[in-house]
Structures are given as C-alpha cells and as structure tokens.
C-alpha cells in the first residue's frame, strides 16, 4: 500500500499533506495531554514495533504469506492519536532511509495508513466492543475494515490521476489507471490476502497479550473519545453551505467553458465534458456540436443556465474571464436556480 514517487501528482501529494498537518498537530496535542511523561518513550518503541511489524511475513491459510501494517493493533493498545504518530514516523523512516514509499507521497501514505487505517479500525473496534462479547472478534473486524478503508483511499488517489492530470492529447501524466481499474486492483488483494494478514496479526497478538499479560498496556492507552472527531465532522457539515456565499468558482466545479479556459489540466477534461454533453444533451435544439441555432457547445448543467452577451454579464457572480464575441454562461443566483 506504500505509494511510491511518480504515481501521484505533486498537487495531490500537497493536498493530502496539508490535510495531515492538522491531524498531526491534534495528535501531538492529544498525546502530550493524555500520555504520561514516563510512557512517552513507549511511543517511539511503538513506532519501531510498527516498522518491524511491516517486515514480518504473516503465515496465511494455504501456505502463502502477507504483510500487515499493524495500525489498528497499535491504536487499540496505545490509542488512535499515538498510533497516528507512531505509524507516521515508521512511514517516514521507510521513505527516507529505505526508499519504501515516496518522499513527496509521504503525506498521502500517512493519510491512508496513519490516519484512515488506525482511526477507522479503532472506532469500529470501539463500537463493536459494546455489541459483540468477544473483543478479539471486534478487533479483527476493525483491523479488516481499517486496512480495506486505507486501501480504498489509496485506490481512489491512484484512480483520479488520469481524470485530473492529462496532457492536451489526453495522456495520463502520472498513474495511468482510472478508477475502474485501480479500485479492483487494490481491493482484490486487500479484501483477501492483506486484510486476512492484518486480522491474523492483530487478533493473534491481542490473544497472546491477553493470556500472558492482560494489564500490560492498560495504563498506556490514552482515554480517547469519538466526541472530538464527530465534532470536527459536524463543524465541516455545518460549514458546507458557506461555499454558496463565495463569489468565485469552487475548485473542481467548473462548467465546460471554464474548463476550456483552464490550460493547466490540458484539454482532457473539456474533451470528457463534450463527450458527456454529446451523450446527454441539455435540450434537443442545443447540442454540443456547433450549429446555426446554437453556435457554441453548451454545458449540460443540473442548474438552469442562460447564455447572454459578455457585455451584459457584469454582475459579481459572472465569470471573470470574458472573451469578446463569445457568449458567456452566467452563473445563476440561488433564487434563480431554485425558485
């Protein structure tokens, strides 16, 4: 699951790295608040354990072997915030000193394996523990879903590359496989081999520790609650309508003309948009191919749009770029769009 260099665009790596910064800062704050000072060395040792866990070949039924990340196990033993830091450090060492996983893709790898994996695994374990009598089964399910959620994120990151980053001829600049290839390619292995390896690793060690030293890590685990995570999600949901107040265009929500004006994506997305318009024309009289009735291709939009001359579109909501002689699609106001 380690994403190497060159498969993701630097902008994708930058976005995922930027997403990880507040998560790392929150994890550092939580760890400083909750983990006692005498247990701080254990975090480094947990990272060393995480690193070495990835080196183990886990025996699986049928004679084959697989690798585990151990993110859910560390989250169960030390708490999800400590696991986030420990797995991040293990990934940094792998990338910097062993060339395993890219340096630029470090943020993306951390997002998948140090954030999605331990947090998903831990919260599923935490939720199932209340309804399933066996903690080992809950941990196994958490580990399985956690690693598959991380693999799915990695597959989506791979799959959006040929959609977003192509040259003028539509050739993929980075990972060449679209979503319909990347998701099955990643998920088949993780739903079977690697998911099973993660389950075997997590449940085997938890069973061993429960038998031999049940209270070993009891004092280490930080009292984490899902309140802060749910609070963050609620704040994000509540803040979503704020985007409607913005005057400019939201990134990624371009119509066909705006796509035609952007040159940093090449013409691949505009070509795709024209193909979409050809397949689903907005009105029978206005097709994507130029005609005397409709000289310019018009985007199919779920919101009503109206073409009008450039000179009259001087409102704040209109597109900033204005080409003389070309009809401009005015972005309608909310009242016009949804009367």
């Amino acid at each position: 699951m380690h994403i190497p260099e060159n498969y993701l665009s630097p902008s994708t790596c930058g976005v995922l790295g930027a997403v990880m910064v507040p998560i790392w800062l929150l994890s550092i704050r939580k760890v400083k608040e909750t983990v006692p000072r005498e247990k701080l060395p254990l975090l480094g040792i947990a990272a060393a354990f995480s690193f070495l866990a990835m080196m183990f070949n886990i025996p699986l039924p049928g004679g084959t072997t697989g690798h585990a990340v151990g993110g859910t196990l560390i989250a169960i033993l030390f708490g999800p915030y400590a696991a986030c830091l420990a797995v991040s450090v293990a990934l940094l060492i792998q990338a910097l000193f062993f060339g395993d996983g890219g340096i630029l893709a470090f943020g993306a790898n951390c997002f998948n394996m140090a954030f999605v994996l331990p947090f998903t695994g831990y919260f599923i374990y935490h939720g199932l523990k209340k309804v399933i009598p066996s903690e080992t089964i809950a941990a196994g399910i958490g580990a399985y879903i956690g690693i598959n959620a991380a693999a799915f994120c990695a597959a989506v990151e791979f799959g959006i590359q040929p959609l977003l980053f192509t040259d003028g001829a539509g050739q993929a600049l980075y990972c060449p496989y679209p979503l319909w290839i990347s998701i099955p390619a990643m998920m088949i292995g993780h739903l079977t081999l690697f998911g099973l390896a993660e389950v075997v690793f997590t449940t085997g060690i938890l069973t061993y520790l429960r038998k031999t030293s049940p209270d070993l890590f009891h004092a280490v685990q930080a009292p984490s609650s899902s309140k802060s995570l749910f609070g963050l999600l609620a704040a994000l949901i509540a803040a979503t309508p704020l985007g409607l107040l913005a005057a400019g265009t939201a990134w990624g929500e371009w119509d066909a003309e705006e796509l035609a004006d952007t040159d940093f994506f090449g013409s691949a997305l505009a070509i795709r948009h024209r193909a979409w318009n050809r397949a689903f024309p907005s009105t029978p009289s206005c097709r994507t191919t130029p005609s005397p009735a409709c000289p310019m291709p018009q985007a199919t939009s779920f919101r009503p749009s109206s073409a009008q001359p450039c000179s009259s579109s001087s409102s704040k909501s209109s597109r900033p770029s204005c080409h003389p002689g070309r009809p401009s699609i005015r972005r309608p106001s909310i009242k016009e769009a949804y009367p």
Partner: protein, 269 residues
C-alpha cells in the same frame, strides 16, 4: 541386556512437508534492516550539514516528478552518474540494485497501460522511478541517519516528533535484534509440521511488545538520570556549518538544474 520395546523400535519419523518459509523470509528482511542500521556508524563525516542535501534531494525529486520531457531526465541521470562515480563498489551495488529493482517493478506495473493508450508518459515512469530512488539512496548512503534527523529539526519539526523518530531508530535495532533471535529460536524448534503458525508468529511479536514495555521504562529512567526532557537542540560540533563551500556548490548545482528545468520543460513559455 534386553532393550525395552520402545527403545528397540526403529525410528521412522518422517516429517511431512510444511510451508514454514515465513520464518526465513521474516528473518532475512530483519537481518537486512539490522545490517543497514549497523553500517550507519561507519559513515565518515562530510564537510556539509545534512539540511542542504536533504533540501536539494527533495527539490530534485519534485523536478523529476514534474518533468514531462526526456531531455531533463537525461540531465538528471547525467548528474547522478557523476555522483555515483565517487562511490565504492559496495555502495554502487546497493544504490543501483535498489533503483533498478524499483524501476523494473514500476515497468511491470505500468506496462498494461499501453493498451489503454496511455503509453507516452507511463513509459517515463520507470525512468523517473530509477532517478528518484537513486537520489534518495545517494542521500542516505552519504549521510548518517542521526544527521538526517538533526536536519529535520532545522525544518521546525516539533521536538516530540524528533524524539519519537530518534527513539524509533534506536529501538528498531534493539527490537530487531530481539526479533531475529526469537525467529532463529523458532526456526530451530520448528521440526516437522507446525499446525499453528499464526500462534508461533504472534508469540514472537507479543514477546517483542512485552520487551518494548520494559525497554520504555528503562529509557525513561535513563532520561531522568541525564536530565533529558525530550527537547532537542541542534549540535554542530562547535563549527558553523550553515554555509560551507560544499553547501554553496550544492546550491549552485541546484540552481543550474532549476534553470534547466525551466528551459527544457518550457515552464514560462
């Protein structure tokens, strides 16, 4: 003297074939990690701090990833080959082995994309992978790991992260040694068919965790004895190595490559 029946019976124990190569493979990977860690102490001190090479490597990797033409990639390859000429045979084998393996793996991965009509840039990916892995391997061949962690501190990374990183590097060696001894013991005892391999490996990892708990307690006590609170200050050995001639030369090369990138990739055209 008449032997009892059980002693006189001919031993015909014939263990069936068993798939226990997970022990050998895990052991092999651990030993390779330990070898790499121990070779760190043999690195000679360079007349340059770790921060400029780390920064230069990151920028070069960024240029390589962004490059769309082969001309710039050839220029980077030329630079890397010049650097490789200053290394010993063992180092060359290590760097080129890792880079070629990564490039070959990448070529296998991207080969089917030609069928999708994405051959133009996909075929550049193995070459780019070779260049980026070579750059990283050259960095870690020339700088000791403690110098690299020190360089991270100059990039304002929080002390807690540096502390975890430093502790991790130390304990990878200690726990790795422990794990390799446990795996060797497991291999020696694995005679015949082992019906519960998962339990065997879980035992190894579980013992490692128990050991790590004891090690953390020892480390905390050692920290207290030395009045170390986990706060790091950059130590430069009494010399001001912020802008040495070697660092200036490196920055000049980096600027030259930036110029080449702008011209060959047509950034502003």
């Amino acid at each position: 003297m008449k032997l009892p029946e059980w002693a006189a019976r001919e031993e015909i124990y014939n263990p069936g074939s068993d798939w226990d190569y997970f022990i050998s493979r895990s052991l092999l990977r651990l030993v390779s990690i330990l070898t790499a860690l121990r070779s760190q102490g043999l690195r000679p001190t360079r007349p340059i701090g770790a921060a400029p090479p780390l920064l230069a490597t990151l920028v070069m990797v960024l240029f390589v990833v962004l490059a769309r033409t082969t001309a710039f990639l050839w220029a980077v390859l030329a630079g890397e080959l010049v650097l490789l000429c200053f290394h010993r045979g063992r180092q060359l084998r290590q760097v080129l082995g890792a880079a070629l393996a990564a490039a070959l793996f990448c070529a296998v991965i991207v080969a089917p994309s030609i069928l999708l009509g994405n051959g133009r840039y996909a075929l550049l990916l193995p070459g780019k992978t070779f260049l980026t892995v070579t750059a990283l391997m050259l960095l870690q061949e020339n700088l000791a790991w403690h110098e690299l962690t020190g360089a991270l501190r100059t990039f304002r990374i929080p002390s807690l992260v540096i502390f975890i990183l430093d502790t991790t590097l130390r304990y990878i060696a200690i726990l790795g040694q422990e794990a390799s001894e446990l795996l060797t013991a497991l291999k020696l005892r694995s005679v015949g068919h082992n019906p519960d391999k998962q339990a065997a490996l879980s035992g190894v990892a579980g013992v490692m965790l128990q050991k790590s708990q004891r090690l953390s307690q020892d480390m905390y006590e050692a920290m207290r004895c030395r009045c170390f609170t986990g706060e790091y200050t950059a130590y430069d050995g009494g010399r001001k190595r912020r802008f040495t001639p070697a660092a200036a030369l490196l920055i000049l090369f980096l600027l030259a490559y930036a110029y080449l990138f702008i011209r060959l990739e047509g950034v502003f055209s």
